[in-house]
Amino acid sequence: MKRLLVVALVLTLGLSVAGLAAGKVAVVLDVGGRGDLAFNDMGFKGTDQAAKDFNLQMVEVQCATGADYLPNMRNLARTGEYDLIICVGFLLGDALAAAATEFPNQKFAIIDVDYITGPNIMNFVFRENEMSALVGALAAMSAAQHGYTTAGIVLGIEIPVLWHFEAGFRFGMDWGLKAYAAHEGTMPAVNLLYTYTGTFSDIALGKAASEAMLAQGAVGIYNVAGPLGVGDLEAVTEVHDNAGTKYGPPYYYGVDADQDWMGNGMHGIASGMKRVDTACYMAVEAVVNGTFTPGVTSLGLAEGGVAISKVRDMEEFIQYGIGAGQIAAADAPAITYNWVQNRLTVADWIWDAVALLEQGILNNSIFVPTASTGAEIATVRAQYTLGAP
Amino acid sequence: MNANDAPANARAADGYFLRAENITKVYSDGTVALREATLEIHPREIVGLLGENGAGKTTLTKILSGLLPPTSGRVTSPKGVVRFASPREALDFGIGMVHQHFALVGTFTATENVALSHERPFARIRLDQARERLEGLMKESGLHVPLDVPVEKLAVGEQQRVEILKVLSRGVRLLILDEPTSVLTPLEVDELFLLLRRLRDAGTSIILITHKLKEVQSVTDRIVVLRRGELVGDVKTSTATTERLAQLMVGRAVEGESTAVELSAEQLPRAGARSKTGSSGESILHVADLVAKGSTGDVAVDGLSFDVHAGEIFGIAGVEGNGQSELVECLTGLRRAVSGIATIKGTDILGKDPREIYRLGVAHIPEDRWRLGLVLPFTLAENAILGVHRWKEFRGPLSFMRWGRINRHVRELMDRFEIQATGPNAPAKSLSGGNQQKLIVGRELAKNPAIVVASQPTRGLDIGAAKYIRDLLVEMRNNGRAILLVSADLDEVLALADRLAIMYEGRFMTECAPTDLNRQQIGMLMGGVERKEVV
């Protein structure tokens, strides 16, 4: 009798563990929300993947305005049901700092913030300057190869995170031009065109800015404004369509995610990936494995937190795109083919040079400057003028 | 219903054109405009539709012309029941109406206005064709208007002709005219009546809405009288006496008046009549060489000079639209004068705004009480302080309103001026026209003014209310106030004024005592005939 009871009890417990998800994670997105094909989507992707892998239930929470950040965190934390709340974006920093103090038993993780201390918070920051340098070098050298005079970056609103990108890109271009000179013997004149559009959402402005740059001989457009990249890519595609060209410059350089597959992989040659998904996955994994360690994790090339897109990234993101219904499975081979053909238009030695730069950064022989304040970015701009008077 | 006034449907048997049967109209606000009105229209007749304001004349014709649906009752023709969902259907049937406020698009020319009411919406406009037809029609009817000028630039009489032409061009068999003579000079009225007779003889039926007994007797074949929404009389013009018509129309004897409805100099009560001291009082308002432009930029007031003295009523008569409104607006600060002098007790008022002018002791009874005189959604109390709301009496520290005192003041006004309302908080729009005007007059007279500028003070009022307001003006005059009375109602001016001027195209044709000229002479002056030719 007694034994029967125990068996029943064990059975029920076992069943409940197996039947229900073991726990819950929540991801809080900032007002930009999902659909940027970049930052926020990456946060969602990583958490989603982790939730699937560890059999967790995932909840996604949007914020309509800045007034929703803290209340959303409180609403989630008050339930006490969530093993981890991931906050995606620096805009959520202050809110998280407050929520983490109010709910000391609730574990949090935050992306792009490095200043929140507390036993229940993991901060993740990225060294975006590192992979931006690779993109910059690629852009500068391929511009020189194809006889283009400029390379362009379209950025969103002027904020510190974006300065990281700009600083890295400037350094990378400078490095690439020097590498080109070393290889070809002449110093090419490739200038930088950059613009802070002041918006992350009006994609028509992204297109207009890209068109202006392309008209001024830009070899490609590096998108550092999330959704605006859609407009950038459209501008690039339009130039090709009009000229009747398939591959080659102008190129589109994606951001945050591997965006090379966009537009059937025709013009996206490489993306400066910021693996927000990796960070989110790491955070969930740490909670599940009981290795949650508060503090700041800085992710760079070495940690795989940032990277320039490669073949395996392309495969991963095509699979993810198919899963999310953005890519038809039948199109996948064509996308990969296009992408490879497009990459062939850049000389092999240039790819090697980019790899060299990556190696240099990885073994700390090359230092990529960054900028987090107005003064710092001014210094970088003064050092790497790239055609500015 | 009285046997004498039984429908004079002698010709009922030989085919009527249109019959309205038991028409009742209740507006959405609950006003009953018509009760069980039955009316028959025959071919080739001019029917006068007589009644006071609010008697239901316009409502009845709006129903006949398809602008309003009746609440109950029906309209029939010999072929059966007719229902007009819109004025277009009525027009197609052959019924056209010329409204008191012309249904003309101001920015369109006469040709375009006429072309508007013709078929085939998606065709190219053939203005040349429309023009040709219109010219033919002008020849036929003897009505002449300029065809290529935006109608808002035309004189009122011309606009009316455009309106009539527009309706005629649709080939109507029943023409309805709503108070067509109120904007015309006596000469123009004669011309219009000639035209109407010609149209009748050519086979058109005509309904003429009016409240003027003499007109209705001079031109119609049959007169239908409405009172408070009920059809109270239907008589042949030849058998109707003025007295009988007036009685039907008013339904009661007007206090102080025997039978006549129309005022005339002889019939106005003489009680406390013209002050002998009148013109010897000090000059309150002095105007010299005043020039002002109208809304369209034309000169509307063309070098007027006059004085209004304490203890007199200075009347300005004339057909509307001859600069009277602009003159009043200049004197009350609502319009800037181009040049000239206007002073009140020696203080210049030109260029001052209404508030400053009121401070000099001016009261203003405006011509349009809905547009100017009242804020209709406001309560009685709020309206009763319009213009005096900044008085110390009503305005406490920090510009707080002293509602207690205001309400007390309003109650006094309601008592003194017999304003019928549920209380100080009744919305002004819930008041009847007469009570609204009493409210305005009361408010203005309560200012204890040195001069009252009264513009069309009795327009649209029933006889009782009109008389009440006229008596008030006389009383104010007797108390030594100066009164400037502007009225399109010649009888009113003749009856009240100590001195009068006839205004025509921005100038005074004459300035005289009311007894100096007879009505015919005045009529000619109002029509622009020079005085030396008249006398």
Partner: protein, 386 residues
């Protein structure tokens, strides 16, 4: 018989009519809210959500307890103020779409107090003064353009919203920027913040500022000559001019009052909303964006009456606060965007005057039919009596 019944009956009817018209505005607003919720429910149902569960979550998240009420009122606070902006100008007969821009300017001005050190309280008051002056200054230009150049205030305030956005971005990124965290402006010091009223929520004393502003505006509009003039000019500008009211002045006054409340709205966000007490230029002001536009919706549902606005803000604050909960409630939660759909539908319904008449329209049609039938029967009896 009907002669006797007539007056009594009509008096009774009039009495009923008065009572109903007295309640009309409130009833119609409630009906509009109901229609909005129904439209939302229909869409949710169409897309495979369970509207009842969603609304239940929303209701609980908005009004389920003291924490929820505090969140709702906190969310309502700036909406009250921007709603006042819109409504005071509507009362003056103008459509001021510019609350958004005026609020941005107010917020930027309020942040300026971070540059000074002052005693608590005074510091806060100085911040509010800055904000209301900036809001008023930003609103005065469209008013002046309207008076001098005849530029429609609808157009100019929309343009000014955009200009304000860019100007505020410039100020936030280059002038008032926090040197250590460039994505945001300087933080309002504790001495200039509205203290939190309910611990653990966003509900701060700024709510009372909003209520106070609503009451002040109520008294200004209905109990001062200035407000009297504003309302008169709004309802009938010609009559107002006739009454010695300077319409240009009332325009300026209403825009100033509107600018002041909008400026204060900006201040309540940066001075009263934890935890940042700053504006984020780096996110294009997520904490401020749309408060001005949502305020217009609140004003309409509140019938442009300060007291009505307070009530309506509880509805809209609740929709927003409850919407947060709705999006993670249950197994198939409804995204936050649904709240805005509901808000839009409510405003659409509000634009139909006499909304309440649409409901009994069928009933009245029937009544009319009966009345017509009865009247058709009557002439016979009349003939009989004659």
């Amino acid at each position: 018989m009907s002669e006797q019944a007539g007056p009594t009956q009509s008096r009774l009817l009039r009495g009923v009519h008065r009572t109903v018209t007295g309640l009309h505005p409130a009833l119609e607003s409630m009906l509009a809210a109901l229609i909005g919720l129904l439209v939302g429910a229909a869409l949710m149902y169409m897309w495979g959500f369970n509207p009842w569960k969603a609304y239940w979550a929303l209701l609980r998240g908005a009004y389920g307890g003291s924490y929820e009420w505090a969140s709702t009122l906190a969310r309502a606070t700036p909406l009250i103020l921007t709603a006042l902006t819109f409504s005071v100008c509507v009362r003056a007969g103008m459509f001021n779409i510019g609350a958004e821009g005026q609020m941005f300017m107010g917020a930027m001005a309020a942040i300026c107090v971070a540059l000074f050190k002052m005693p608590p309280g005074i510091h806060l008051i100085v911040g509010l003064l800055f904000a209301l002056i900036a809001g008023a200054a930003w609103s005065i230009v469209p008013a002046v353009l309207k008076i001098t150049r005849g530029v429609s205030e609808v157009i100019s305030t929309i343009m000014f919203n955009w200009i304000a956005r860019w100007l505020a971005l410039y100020i936030a990124i280059f002038i008032l920027v926090d040197p250590s965290r460039a994505e945001k402006t300087l933080t309002i010091p504790v001495s200039a913040r509205f203290p939190i009223l309910v611990r653990g929520t966003d509900f701060s004393y700024s709510f009372f500022l909003a209520i106070f502003a609503a009451l002040v505006l109520y008294f200004v509009l209905w109990h001062t000559t200035m407000g009297y003039e504003v309302r008169a000019a709004g309802l009938n500008p010609t009559a107002a001019r006739y009454g010695g009211i300077r319409n240009k002045r009332t325009m300026i006054v209403s825009f100033l009052l509107g600018g002041i409340t909008a400026g204060l709205a900006g201040a309540t966000v940066v001075m009263g909303m934890p935890p940042s007490y700053a504006a984020f230029g780096g996110g294009a002001f997520p904490e401020l964006t749309n408060i001005g536009f949502d305020g217009m919706a609140v004003a309409m549902v509140g019938r442009n009456h300060p007291i009505g606005i307070i009530v309506a803000s509880v509805l809209f604050g609740g929709l927003n606060a409850g919407g947060r909960v709705m999006q993670f409630y249950g197994s198939n939660p409804v995204p936050l965007e649904m709240v805005r759909i509901v808000m839009g539908a409510i405003v659409l319904a509000m634009s139909i005057p006499e909304l309440i008449r649409l409901v009994p329209a069928i009933k009245s049609q029937g009544e009319r039919l009966i009345a017509t039938l009865r009247r058709h029967g009557r002439p016979a009896s009349k003939e009989g009596s004659a």
